[in-house]
Symmetry: C2
Subunit: 311 residues, 2 copies
């Protein structure tokens, strides 16, 4: 039963949904995507290590950090997190995917504190001219989404790979199929028995669940060029710094309104939209939610501490 | 009545008492000293702006920030605070007193986020070879206290200046002393009336209250050279990262134990000691307090959110 639970994991936990400054108990941008037992940290605003602790996410499980851009509200928590990992004697690699200038900032930070980390920090510099695949393991790929912000900025789309077909144990037992054949069946092969009879794969296996996908888009002005990259994703996080009445300010500051985000969600035909990165001017968030829902019904607030099952 | 309340102000509010990493709802080093209506921020660990908001201290009232050293747990919150002040359209100068390398860090941070602050940031580089006066206004002086830590580090001693004598209105009215003489009386002058009679100042005024003083010492190993600088202060904050059983580790890491701090308080004959900068290994703080109290009775935990009246 436990294994089944773990295998389900494509879950997002939101740690912060405030833009620029922490207000009304809202924290700065940070999210954790859990894929099986792998934890991916997406942005890391000030206070992220406190939020991780609050929501019982072990910092030692985080091996990959993706930083969208170098406005402080999206990365200042990373410096303290790096130090805390050092304090707790981490030995595993920590991979950071970010703008190359972040490496300079981390290096000057470590130099000034006279710290030589006890674990390897592996830095992966992002580029911002076109979408690129920046990460791959046996379960997922991560591609950048080039956004349109005041400084170089990208989002990230996490896509599960095609999963193996599931063995129909009742049928494979009936045909006495040997264990060493199961991997081939999972890959879709038919089975030929000793007498040369072919048993179709579709009889021996079930179709796997559809691969899950999640796209994170913060910060950006309305930007239709991202639509092909996030088309049909199971869940889209899109920033909504402002309500639609502040459209002019949104454009000026390279941010999005609720309607911008909902429009993008609708045009990209995503399954679900969660919105965040709210301006400090909004104490109540329901008006923002309602505005977005008018255009894209399956919208929710990206609530801190809530874990969204994307599977 | 209000004026009387304000005039009383020499108050310290503790915002964080955790060392290195935030744990058990304990935050990183930061304190606000309020002298009359002037707010001095002392260290600024990650999360300080959230703590300021939590305890209703307006960030706009902070004009001077004193950073002891460049370990992240003592200054990483400053970068976000600088940005929040910008977001809220500050126009007053912000003065930062810190190691010169912090200016480099702030500059690279601002460059990377393509930010030109809307207010003047005035940087004052500290030196670490001897104590120096780094700040003075009509009410107080601030001197550094050179500490013995793994990197260059100093504490700060805030001393109120001698206050003017208080007019005894009943007596000055009796002698019909003109208003323009009152300032001279406050400074201690006698009064000579038109007939040449001398009325002694001691008859016309009350002695002012004794100037208050506060010393902040974090981080440091046991360091007797600081004693002359903090002699007789009304309140001393001294770090106590470890209990006495961890004396070896304290020395190795250039930190103090409870007993080190209490010894210093006793030798410096301070009025009150508050202790903080607790290691993440201690969930309960009472044992640390008890150890310190065995040596210096008037000791308290530097509790977050508590305001200590030093007057």
């Amino acid at each position: 039963m436990k294994y089944f639970f773990l295998a389900m994991g494509f879950e997002l936990t939101v740690l912060g949904n405030s833009s620029a400054t922490p207000v009304y108990n809202r924290n700065l941008s940070a999210q954790v995507l859990k894929v099986l037992e792998h934890f991916f940290l997406i942005d890391c605003g000030e206070g992220t290590q406190t939020q991780l602790r609050k929501f019982n996410i072990s910092i030692n499980k985080i091996n990959n950090v993706f930083i969208s851009h170098l406005h402080g509200d999206h990365y200042l928590g990373l410096l303290g997190l790096i130090s805390t990992m050092h304090l707790f004697n981490r030995d595993k690699e920590l991979h950071i995917f970010a703008h190359p200038d972040l490496e300079k900032i981390i290096n000057i930070y470590l130099q000034c504190s006279n710290t030589v980390l006890c674990y390897p920090l592996v830095f992966h510099s992002l580029t911002y001219d076109k979408s690129e695949k920046i990460y791959e393991d046996k379960n997922i790929t991560v591609n950048t989404i080039v956004l349109d912000h005041r400084i170089e900025c990208c989002g990230f789309v996490f896509k599960e790979k095609e999963k193996p077909r599931k063995i129909n144990k009742e049928i494979t037992d009936k045909y006495n199929i040997p264990v060493y054949e199961l991997n081939n069946l999972k890959k879709g092969s038919d089975y030929t028995d000793k007498k040369g009879n072919i048993i179709r794969n579709s009889e021996l296996t079930f179709a796997p669940s559809k691969p899950s996908s999640y796209a994170y888009c913060s910060d950006t002005k309305y930007c239709e060029s991202i639509i092909p990259l996030i088309k049909n994703v199971d869940m889209l996080y899109h920033e909504t710094t402002f309500m639609s009445e502040k459209q002019d300010i949104a454009v000026e500051k390279f941010h999005s309104t609720t309607i911008d985000a909902a429009d993008i969600a609708k045009k990209a035909q995503v399954k679900k939209l969660i919105i965040g990165h709210f301006s400090a001017r909004y104490k109540e968030l329901e008006p923002l939610l309602n505005e977005a829902k008018n255009i894209f019904k399956n919208t929710a607030i990206a609530e801190e501490g809530v874990t969204y099952n994307i599977s």
